[in-house]
């Protein structure tokens, strides 16, 4: 049998200005990353003894992981709950997740002091480390996502259809594993900060951080599916599955409502309500996050009109995402109080402020650009949005 591995573009994707911009961003990031590998992280970032984690962790890791949560939500909904009508949303979500986690991994390879040792996490296990759990989950989940997405690629090559079929057949255990892994690491990102009760402001530090993180991963995942579908329907001139998205949007207020109750219930229980208005900048950040990320979308998506219009859906999703991304930044950066300026340190290490540098941000932008480009390319060459195939999946 002769393998035919040539593939034809499915959509037109010209070297539009957008593509040029993306490529430029990637190029800059590449150069900056090389500098970092040669001269060290300090050469390009403002990270310091007081601020070991900065923009990369807040943006690439915390934000990157949570906005990739659509993948496990859709996989779970379609396969486990067997709600087949969401099938059309499955592939784009899995693709986003897959690319999202690859981006997270690339960012970690920049951030880690010893990127070449990332695999040590697979062999040297410290059972008390939340980071270990996240590392293992993310790496395993990436494999699961690859398996989940593989059929999409394989289908493009008639010769490989058989393999695609085989994967389809045994997909269920992987889906379950994927959901379990996602549940674990989405919540564990919250657990990661449990070890900082002395550093993370009490407005954010709570022993139920993992639950809060899992809950918000759901609302963010839903919002991401809405956002992605809306944007790609515009970019690739497809019809929007508004009827499906409306159903998703209906679930959002419920999830956010639970969040609100948990958050304030916990603050009240811990006796931290006093901090709500008395913590200066922290209070402002906290309220911004709650109002933008929770309260506004809760109200917005409770209104039927908003759920039924393409613009209404998109607007609501964006508001929610902005607020929740702020939450991730708050929890992992803005709300963390590091050993403070009072410490005498020899002047060469007295950096007690942290302002991400341009090169630092450029790394994240470059990786992000690569993600968008990869999404475009995948959509161009593979049946990501293909109704027929999509319907066929899961048989």
């Amino acid at each position: 049998m002769k393998l035919n591995l040539t593939i034809q573009p499915r959509f037109r994707l010209n070297f539009s200005p957008l593509v040029w911009i993306l490529l430029t961003l990637m190029g800059i990031a590449f150069v900056v990353a090389m500098i970092r590998y040669i001269y060290g992280i300090g050469a390009i970032s403002d990270l310091s003894y007081s601020y070991p984690w900065g923009f990369w962790i807040s943006f690439d890791l915390f934000t990157g992981v949570v906005i990739s949560s659509g993948g496990f939500l859709m996989a779970g909904t379609v396969y486990i709950l067997g709600i087949k009508e969401f099938q059309p949303l499955l592939r784009p979500s899995v693709l986003t997740a897959f690319l999202g986690y690859i981006m997270v991994t690339i960012a970690l390879l920049v951030d880690l002091g010893h990127p070449e040792r990332i695999w040590y996490m697979m062999i040297h296990w410290n059972g008390t480390s939340v980071l270990l759990e996240i590392g293992i989950c993310v790496m395993s989940y990436l494999t699961v996502l690859a398996i989940e997405f593989a059929p999409v690629v394989l289908e493009r090559f008639p010769a490989l259809h058989k393999i695609a079929h085989l994967i389809h057949k045994f997909i269920m255990p992987f889906v379950i594993l994927g959901v379990v892994l996602s549940t674990l690491h989405q919540s564990s990102l919250g657990s990661l900060l449990l070890i900082q009760p002395a550093k993370l402001h009490p407005l954010w530090w709570t022993p139920i951080l993992p639950i809060m993180f899992f809950n918000s991963a759901i609302s963010v995942g839903l919002a991401m599916i809405i956002l992605e579908s809306s944007l790609s329907s515009r970019y690739f001139q497809r019809g929007l599955e508004t009827h499906l998205l409306e159903k998703l949007a209906k679930a959002i207020p419920v999830v956010l409502g639970i969040y609100l109750i948990l958050k304030f219930g916990e603050l009240a229980y811990a006796g931290d309500l006093g901090y709500l208005f008395t913590s200066g900048g922290f209070s402002i950040l906290f309220w911004a996050e709650i109002l933008i990320g929770i309260v506004t979308p809760l109200i917005w998506f409770s209104i039927k009109k908003n759920r039924q219009s393409a613009n209404g859906l998109l607007t609501g999703a964006i508001i929610l995402l902005v607020g929740m991304i702020l939450n991730r930044f708050n929890v992992s950066w803005f709300g963390v109080v590091h050993p403070d300026p009072m410490f005498y340190m020899p002047t060469f290490m007295s950096n007690v402020k942290y302002i991400p540098t341009l090169p630092e941000v450029s790394i994240s932008l470059g990786i992000f650009a690569a993600g968008i480009l990869a999404f475009g390319l995948a959509a161009k060459y593979f049946p990501v949005f293909d109704e027929e195939h999509a319907h066929a999946t899961g048989d």
Binding site: I38, A43, P52, G113, Y120, T128, I176, L184, Q196, P207
Partner: protein, 258 residues
């Protein structure tokens, strides 16, 4: 010297003159690079208004916690807590994630930000000078201290000494030994004439900082198994239901056809 079962230090802030001999000694003993240090002196600076002034100095390095948070956090287990006290770090395992820096409530581990992958960027922190303490010498920082603000010995003995010193000069000291219970107890014990928070020390409970996260970690595997089982059950149930429904539907169709 008494037999040392649990190596520890005692720092007496009332005696420390901020001379930094300890910092120099550590740098030389451990061949620390010129732009690094394993010891910090937190100058509380000068408080008050001329001429009513107060000044305090806090010298610290790794507290060699009884329940080290660095160790709890490190994904690859690069940290070890020796039974007799010292918390040490193994560069051969480190992946450079810097989670230990986040975890340590005292901000002790620090990282080679100026090293690329060829030089190798590592974490550094106080080692308790094993090359000295296991050869009958005091740690370099302790030995040099011109005022005995830093002392070294067995943790129990030092605790006794600290309490005795406080008892003999209640006017001079705050009645508390920092590190006796903080963070589950540390091997670096501190007594002072000015409040510990003013010395820059975090106000930590007696339970170690890593308690909650370690509990959560303990629940992870049972939870994963449970959750996996639930999901499998649901999936199987849904599958069964769908199959039945399908069957029913097809039977209905068949019947209709009939």
């Amino acid at each position: 010297m008494t037999e040392i079962k649990h190596h520890a230090y005692l720092f007496d802030a009332t005696r420390c003159i901020d001379c930094r001999a300890c910092m120099v000694a550590c740098s030389v003993e451990n061949n620390i690079e010129m732009d690094k240090t394993r010891i910090w002196v937190s100058g509380v600076g000068i408080k008050g208004e001329y001429p009513d002034l107060q000044r305090g100095t806090m010298v610290y390095h790794c507290m060699h916690c009884n329940h080290p948070d660095c160790m709890s956090a490190c994904p690859v287990g690069a940290y070890t807590k020796a039974e007799d006290g010292p918390v040490t770090y193994d560069p051969d395992l480190c992946i450079g994630c810097r989670y230990c820096m986040n975890a340590c409530p005292f901000g002790v581990p620090h990282f080679d930000y100026d090293k690329g992958i060829i030089d190798g960027a590592f974490i550094d922190k106080c080692t308790f000078c094993p090359q000295r303490i296991y050869n009958g010498q005091e740690p370099a920082c302790v030995q040099t201290c011109p005022t005995d603000a830093l002392e070294y010995g067995d943790r129990d003995e030092l605790l006794k000494k600290a309490h005795a010193r406080i008892a003999s000069r209640p006017d001079h000291y705050i009645d508390h030994v920092y590190g006796e219970n903080e963070n589950g107890g540390t091997s670096y014990l501190i007594i002072s004439h000015i409040p510990f928070s003013e010395l820059g020390l975090p106000n930590l409970p007696e339970t170690p900082v890593n308690e909650v996260s370690e509990k959560v970690m303990e629940m992870t595997i049972p939870f994963a198994l449970g959750w996996g089982a639930v999901l499998s059950g649901v999936a199987a149930g849904v599958n069964l239901y769908n199959k039945k429904k399908e069957k029913a539907e097809s039977t209905a169709k068949v019947e209709e056809v009939k």
